[in-house]
């Protein structure tokens, strides 16, 4: 239940809109009841053959309610859809704002697009919180009250009987159907999740499946998930149909019940036959708003399920928070680590183990080592994705935690293999790095990154995840962004790995040209042209194994020397 109230709190700003829509819905239903009641009044009155003038009220009433119901229903549908979209936007914003501080440290398990997609779907499903969950009970309640009031006029007994049938339809049937379909909604969601995973595997792994003859097997698994989902959907549809039938039966029983209360009074003459006719039709019309109620209960179940999954993510505490009075960033930015250690949550082995080094402003430094040696962890600490575990990491001679993470990130340009390309134009993707840059500036950066033909393609769509671009183009786009960012510290984390050798050399030369006075930290596991670095940090298993220039390290005959040899062995053997 607490999840329900937390969800309600998010949509509360739209309470006014929701009330308006609920009231319009009630007014439309009420007009429908009014139409039938005045029509019944009209014919019952006419049957007594009064003068024509006596029918005037009925005639006007019928026309009025006839028009009002249509118009009110139209307005209600507009209002409730409008509200739904407002709610959806608020939900997305709320989710984004809550997620933003958690990225990326607390979202490690969401690196895959599919899990995120599922969460996005969860949020989408919450949009009906108002239309499907909150609005129907309000409308039904107001309608029941209206009928109670109208019937009570003529016969309190009939009003009590009708009320009990309303309760049966409004509470009994939803409880029963909820019981019958318990677990169906969550079961459907579960199979759908399974199916989604299989479908994504199918679409993305089609090449592998074809090459290994796994297509039919995978299709069978997909179709199995679909069948299971459909079986549950069928169950849920049958319960749906049953609920409509039940409410229909209750309505007819209510007609009989009210009649049995009113008939004796009619036959004794204490109540007019006109009232009898009106009451009959009013009772029949009053059950319409009860039809969606069982659906509300099921939607509530699904919404709480979705809400639970969302809150599970958002309730994490952010790894990095803004200091209360951040230190301004100015002057030179030397980087100094002292006994720096870091262990990822849930792992035993430290990713960085008592690493100490100093990198001066303007230096050209390489960090090398096999994958898993801690190179990228160091980057993550520098851009404040994680907090240092123990030891200190200083930048500009002050502990890194004293700066605002946002401000710090503006001073560090990182090009990594994981750089994300948004499904927008190439221009938008570049402007991210320098908002307000002119096309001329963008073109310059693109050319520097080796994308000579791109300056004319700024308006082109990069495609989802930049898929309209080749792997090499995406990587060079990331480099262009770093050049635009114009930060005093540049980190190239395997930035040129998927470029062919001539392009790689060209791009590196351009970056060098554009980086006068800047610190360039190159992370690589490929030992090529190592003489260009003023110093090389060699990491192995999270420890700083060696440091020095290429010549020094080669002379030392240690870890670096071994790495270099193993990498060039096959070539030497050939020659």
């Amino acid at each position: 239940m607490s999840i329900f109230f937390r969800l309600i709190r998010i949509v509360r700003p739209w309470a006014g809109w929701m009330l308006l829509a609920a009231f319009l819905s009630f007014a439309a239903t009420g007009s429908g009841i009014g139409l039938l009641m005045t029509a019944a009044y009209l014919i019952a009155k006419a049957a007594l053959q009064p003068p024509l003038a006596a029918l005037q009220i009925g005639i006007v009433g019928v026309r009025f309610f006839g028009l009002a119901r249509g118009v009110l229903r139209y307005l209600e549908r507009l209002a409730s859809h409008d509200t739904t979209f407002r709610i959806l936007t608020s939900l997305r914003l709320w989710f984004y704002d809550a997620l933003e501080p958690l990225a990326p440290a607390r979202l490690m398990q969401f690196r895959s697009a599919d899990l995120l997609q599922r969460i996005v779907d969860d949020i989408q499903s919450l949009e009906n919180l108002y239309t499907r969950v909150l609005a129907p009970p309000v409308t039904a309640l107001l309608t029941a009250l209206l009928l109670w009031f109208l019937l009570g006029f003529w016969s309190p007994l009939a009003a009590v009987i009708l009320l009990s049938f309303h309760l049966l339809a409004g509470i009994g049937v939803p409880l029963l159907t909820a019981r019958l379909s318990r677990g169906t909604a969550s079961g459907i969601l579960r199979w759908k999740a399974e199916e989604q995973m299989l479908a994504l595997d199918f679409a993305q792994g089609l090449a592998e499946l074809q090459m290994y003859g796994g297509i039919e097997r995978h299709r069978k698994r997909l179709e199995h998930a679909e069948s299971e989902k459909l079986a549950l959907e069928r169950k849920s549809a049958l319960v749906d149909g049953m609920q409509e039938t039940l409410i229909g039966l209750i309505m007819n029983a209510a007609v009989l019940g009210v009649l049995s209360a009113v008939l004796p009074e009619v036959s004794t003459g204490t109540l007019s036959g006109i009232a009898l006719s009106i009451a009959t039709l009013a009772v029949m019309a009053s059950f319409e708003p009860f039809l969606p109620l069982p659906g509300s209960v099921r939607h509530l179940e699904a919404d709480i399920h979705a809400g639970k999954r969302i809150f599970e993510i958002l309730d994490a505490t952010p790894e990095v928070t803004e200091p209360s009075s951040p230190r301004p960033i100015q002057g030179e930015l030397p980087i100094e680590a002292t006994a720096l250690s870091f262990t990822y949550p849930g792992t035993l082995r430290p990713a960085l183990d008592a690493v100490s080094f100093m990198i001066l402003q303007g230096a050209r430094v390489a960090i090398v080592g096999p994958s898993g040696s801690g190179k990228s962890t160091l980057t993550s600490l520098l851009v404040r994705f994680w907090n240092p575990g123990s030891g200190t990491l200083r930048i500009g001679r002050h502990p890194i935690e004293e700066y605002s993470p946002e401000a710090l990130r503006r001073h560090i340009a990182l090009v990594s293999q994981r750089t994300y390309v948004f499904a927008e134009t190439i221009r938008e993707n570049l402007l991210l790095a320098r908002p307000g840059a002119t096309d001329h500036e963008l073109g310059k950066a693109l050319r520097a990154a080796g994308l000579n033909h791109f300056p004319t393609r700024l308006g082109e769509f990069a495609g989802q995840h930049g898929m309209q671009l080749s792997g090499g183009e995406r990587q060079r786009l990331a480099i262009a962004r770093a050049i635009l960012q114009d930060a005093p510290v540049v980190i190239l984390d395997e930035a040129t790995a998927s470029l062919d050798a001539p392009t790689e050399q060209e791009v590196l030369r351009r970056i060098e040209e554009a980086s006068e006075g800047k610190t360039i930290i190159t992370i690589t596991h490929r030992l090529q042209e190592m003489e260009r670095f003023g110093s090389i940090l060699v990491l192995k298993d999270g420890r700083l194994a060696e440091t020095g220039t290429h010549t020094e390290l080669m002379r030392k005959q240690g870890v670096y020397h071994a790495m270099w040899n193993s990498q060039h062995q096959s070539i030497d053997g050939q020659q």
Binding site: A39, A44, I59, L78, V120, M197, E226, L238, D240, F385
Partner: protein, 600 residues
Amino acid sequence: MNIDRRMFSLIGGHRAPFILSIAASGAAAVMVIGQAASLSRLVNDAFIEKAPPAALLPSIGFFALFSMLRMFLGWLGHAEANRGTIAVRKDLFGRLTGAIALRGPLYARSLPSGRLSTTLIKGVEALDAYFSQFLPQLVLALLAPLIILIAVFPVDPVSGFILLATAPLIPLFMALIGKRAGAMTDRQWETLSRMSGYFLDMLQGLPTLKLFARSRSQHDAIADAGERFRTATMKVLRVAFLSSLTLELVGTIGTAMIAVAIGLRLLTAGLTFQTALFVLLLTPDFYLPLRQLGLKFHAGMEGTSASKDIFAVLDGAGNGSIDRSINGPIDGPEPEGHQKVPFEGKNTPEAAPFHRSEIRFEGVSYSYPGSTEPALSSLTCAIPAGRTTAVTGPSGAGKSTLMNLLLRFQDPCSGTITAGGRPIGEYPVEAWRELVAWVPQHPFLFNETLRLNIMMANRSATEETLLRAVRMAGLEELVDRLPAGIDTPVGEQGIRFSGGEAQRIALARAFMKDAPLLVLDEPTSHTDPELEATLQRAIGTLMQNRTTLIIAHRLETIRSADTILVLEGGRETATGTHRELMESSAFYRRAFLEHGESVQ
């Protein structure tokens, strides 16, 4: 071209439940008449005739009976429509997965990620309302009013005429407004998926937004997009809902007209109260199915919109020329291993000596649809049997196209590829792929255990073979580190691997498959150097006795190749050994010199 006709054709062999549903709903309409007759009799007897309560019992009994029958029939109609819909969806789902399989990985990759799975899952779901609600309602909207008209005309022709006159207005208005609303709903479906895609994109790119210190300002962009989406959608809905307003008004105004007309005739004693009430009770039920059609029309149109994506997938798949079993849902046991094409080295003695037959490209051209520049233009070259051929060249030279043609992910526009003199197109595609092991640049790992991910290459392999493949691919240490060893789940629900690790898993698959032709796409671009030497040896073992094609940018990887093929602009510009190419190919020499400086 007529989308509704196409939708209708999806029903195929599942007509029975839909017919039963319509019959039940029609019978329910007859019960409605019984209900109205007994209820009007009841009220008339009590009100006009002042009958004692006991005399009313038969009417009460009939009313209760008709009510129950009506409700039961209604439920039956609903249940049957649902049964039919489920069958249609199941069918369609199977056809779609078949069509996707048939269109292949290049098609799948040409679409935004998630697009196909959305069509497959949400697209098919969106059709539900069309079949379970819109279609039955469409028939019911004709049937039920007709039955009521038949009941009303004999007792009160005037009301009958009013009903008859107002009813056609409903489909008329619907057609007038529906056309416009249809186009708008289409656009709406587009916007909706774009909006949700936009939001997902932002979430996925959150770390990058953070790096550029833009993550917080993105709040406003999302708010803007949401607001734009809302205004655009509301504009559509204001018109779309007009159709239901019109329907609603026709219904309520019709009811009002009948009530007034009846009332006036009651005054002049032209009509009895019982008949008047009978007609009045039936009037809402006359308009109800028409009105509901208006509501479900919307749901139906959404299904029609979604179906366009579905038909787009189905249409491109042709008539299943490649493999019958792929087109249509699969029944029965899994087709195990098709017809194995034997080759020497595997246990069949009379096998064609496949590994000794070279592969030739003869005048092969390929252009991507919509592109003016051919990706390959009349390429003629040979991949000698049992040896290693490296393909190199600048990006966009046609290296990937060459590989895709060899893997038969696409077919040449002109020219032929032969293996041992026989065009590879003559092999059944499944059989051809049995002969090829492939290590792609970005191997895909399935959401299964690591074991299953490797075993997919050879499901019947022994544990020993598996462990050997793991060892050969340099995965041993990695497996030891995993929490559940080789049975650790991979992917979103388990461990995620780096690009280099994924490539080693793909290598393990290739070891498992033990196929005579090996296609490697830049196999060592992400692995770390210590492992690289091990891997080179492993790949060397893998290449023995196999015809191998390696695509790489890194010259050190290909220098050891027996033949090097330089592609530029879709043509072969040079071929030969390393030494020969240093003489003859400008691209090769330049690439090698810039790359090799530090090595020397």
